[in-house]
Every structure is written in C-alpha cells, then in structure tokens.
C-alpha cells in the first residue's frame, strides 16, 4: 500500500475545501451567467456593452491573474468603499472569499455564452404561448423558459464545471487549504513530491469522474420529457 505518512486525512480535508469552493463558485457563476446572458440579449444598449466588456475581459486574462487581482485588489477596493462610509479599520478578504469571487466571475463569463445560446434557441412560440396563458414575465421565465434553457445549456455547463473544478487548484496559490496546498505541505515535510502530487492528481481525477457521472444523470433527467423509454 502507498505510505502517505499520515497525510491522508489532511488531503481528504483538502478535498472537502476544494468541493466547497467549486460548488460555491458554481452557484455564483450560474447567477452571473444568467444575468450576463439576459444583459447580452437585452434591448438596452448599456447592458449589452457591460456584458460584452465583462466576458471579453474575463475570458482574455489568465484565471491565475484573476485570482491574484481579486485577492490583493479586493482588500484595497473594499477599504476604499468602507472609508467613504466612515469605516477605517483594516479589512481582509479571505482566500476562500477571493477564490469564490474570482472563479465565480470566470465561470459566469463562460456561462454567459452558453446561456445566451440556449436562450436564443427557445422558439418564439413558447414565449407567446406563456403570455397567452396569462403568465407574467417572472412566472414565464421560471416555469417555461428556464426548464428548457436548463436542458439545452446543461452539456455546456457540465464542461465548464469540469474546468472550474481544476481551476480551484489555483486558489492554493493565495493560501487556501485545498487539495493542492495540503499536498504542498505534505511535500515540504516528507520530500516525496512525486508521490503526493500524483495522489493529488488522482483525487482531482476522482472528483472529475464523479462530476461526469452526475452531469450525465442530470442530462438524462432534464431531457426526460423528450426521450422515449
């Protein structure tokens, strides 16, 4: 058996942090993606511009740089805002919060494109039918449009989640105790770099496989109205 020198528990704790980070960023990213897609399809030019700038910038700079900018930059931005309201104490942004913000922003930018495509593929008749039944815009959105968008967007969103899962490793650079940093700690005390990084790699691989299974289950579920059994 592989000897992990007692670092097995630590790595598992890291896996929990990695999962928490990935799921929180997914939640933030999905919201941003839906907002971004709505803004891109909006009839108001300003919203379209903002959404376009957001996706272009976020998709054009490295994720690592986004993490660093948020981690080091958010502190000064938040303190500047707080001082306007007369609060002059030191504010520190934790690695987890910075990670969720950075990865959520990244996920949201890519998800915007996925949701936009899905929203555009809903036939106009669906909108008209919902309005004809007397539904308001909000009810129409979550009863008629969202379930269909979900089905169409799910494969794309699933792929983005796999990318997100791997990007969580970047947050270890700013000191979050995820799988990667736990492996770093284990390496610096045991000097067995290859072993621990390989174990970390296989942990990510396991998370990837589980996510893939889950996504394909969700895909089946979302399209149960279409497939004939």
């Amino acid at each position: 058996m592989i000897d992990l020198h007692g670092f097995g528990d630590q790595l598992l704790q890291g896996a929990v942090v990695t999962l928490e980070l990935a799921l929180s960023s997914l939640f933030v990213g999905l919201l941003l993606g839906l907002l971004g897609a709505s803004a891109k399809l909006s009839s108001i030019k300003l919203f379209r511009w903002i959404a376009h700038g957001y996706t272009t910038i976020i998709r054009g700079i490295p994720e690592l740089l986004t993490v660093l900018i948020i981690y080091f930059g958010a502190t000064s931005v938040l303190m500047a805002i707080a001082s306007v309201f007369g609060y002059d104490e030191y504010i520190e942004v934790g690695a987890f919060a910075a990670g969720v913000t950075a990865l959520g922003l990244t996920f949201g930018a890519y998800a915007t494109e996925v949701f936009r495509g899905a929203l555009q593929s809903i036939p106009k008749g669906q909108h008209e039918a919902a309005i004809a039944l007397g539904m308001g815009p909000i009810r129409k959105f979550y009863r008629i449009i969202l379930p269909q968008v979900w089905r169409i967007a799910l494969p794309g969103i699933g792929n983005l989640f796999l990318v997100l899962l791997k990007d969580t490793a970047l947050v270890s650079v700013v000191g979050l105790d995820d799988i990667m940093r736990k492996a770093n700690i284990a390496v610096s005390s045991t000097k067995e770099a290859f072993l621990f990084y390989l174990v970390a790699a296989f942990m990510y691989l396991a998370l990837t496989i589980v996510s893939m299974v889950l996504v394909s289950y969700l895909e089946k579920r979302a399209s149960r109205g279409l497939t004939r059994g």
Partner: protein
Amino acid sequence: MDFSVVVEYFPRLLSGAWVSLQLVVLSVVLGGIFALPIALARISPVAWVRAFPFAYIFFFRGTPLLVQIFLVYYGASQFDAVRESIFWPILREPFWCAIIAFTLNTSAYTAEIFRGAIQAIPQGEVEACKVVGMTKVQMYRRILLPRAFGIVLPAYGNEIILMLKGSALASTITILDLTGMARTIIARTYTPMEIFLAAGGIYLLISIVVIAIFRQIELRQNRYLGTLSIKVPDKG
C-alpha cells in the same frame, strides 16, 4: 491608484511577456507535433492501441495544469535516478519543466481536437479515396489531414488562447513570465492593482492578436468553401 508605476516598470513587464510568448509558442508547436500520432492512435480500430491514448488524454484533461507542472518540476527530482541521468540539466531548469508540462497538457487537448476533426469528415470522402485506389497513407496525406486542418482551426485557436492563459502558471515555479514579473515588481512597489491590471491588459492584447491571426488563416484555409460560408468579420 497611481499608474506612473506602470510606466516605470513597463519594459520589465514586456520582457516578462516575451518569456510568456516563448513558453506558449514552444509548447504549442511541440504539443501539436505530439498530438497527431496520439489522435491517430486514439481512433485506431484496434482496442489496445486506443487504450493508451485514451488514458493519457483522460489524465491530462482531468487533472489541474498546476498539479502537472508541480509533478514535473518538484516530482521528477524526488528520484535519484533522474538526478543522475543525462536529462537532469534539462529537468533542473524551471523553464524546460514548464515546457514539458505544457506540451504534455496541450498535446492531450489538441489530440482530442484533431480526433474530432478527422471524425467530422464525411464518410463519403473516405469512400471516394478508397474507390480511387489510394493507400491509407495517401488518403491521410492528401485528403483527410488537409481537410481536418481546415475544420480544426477555430478550436485550435481557442486551445492556443487557453495555453496563453495557462502559461501564467509558470510563475508558480519561479519563472519570470508576465505574471511572474508582475508579482516580482509588486513585491518591490506594493502596487498590486496597477501592475496586475497592466499585466491583464497585455494578456488581453496578445489574445486579441492571436484571434485576429487565426481569423485570417481560417479565411485563407477555407476559401474553397466559397464566399457565402465565410463569415464577414464584425465591424469595429
């Protein structure tokens, strides 16, 4: 915010950008060369030939690039055999370790892109080759690979952009690429926002140039499809 610090350190940021470009170009070229045999093996009709590229692609696409870099840079030196081998002068250098990790990583992604392109070629063209009496090598050299090249271009352009963004990870193993240089400057000046935003701007600029180049190659490569199917570049 004080952007005079950006002006002062701009030459050093540019020298970092030059290192990033070297990393990207070298690993994309090497990765492209490795990707072709991997892709061809991946679509082999023989099951055990398919198995190795499948595992290779699955591993490199399923694990973070950061882990892969650390495996090569820190992991390889764990073994005395590696340290005493003739490869040590190369594996000792962070730059070459980054090249190795990036090449392995991008070749896995590129192989999948190539595979998709080769499989996207209509079956009729394969049959036509056989009818004309081409050998398998002739069929690949004259018809399938040139056709696949045209199909592959948009996805390949994306992969190069992803590699450019991935190259920022080289800064974690002490390489002074654009991100690494930015972090070094910040350690001295303590102006994280200004310098990181400037670095982000340079990355954005490089991405835009890469996208423009690929659009040109795409127009050229696919010109036989006729003017109708060629997308007119957006204004502005």
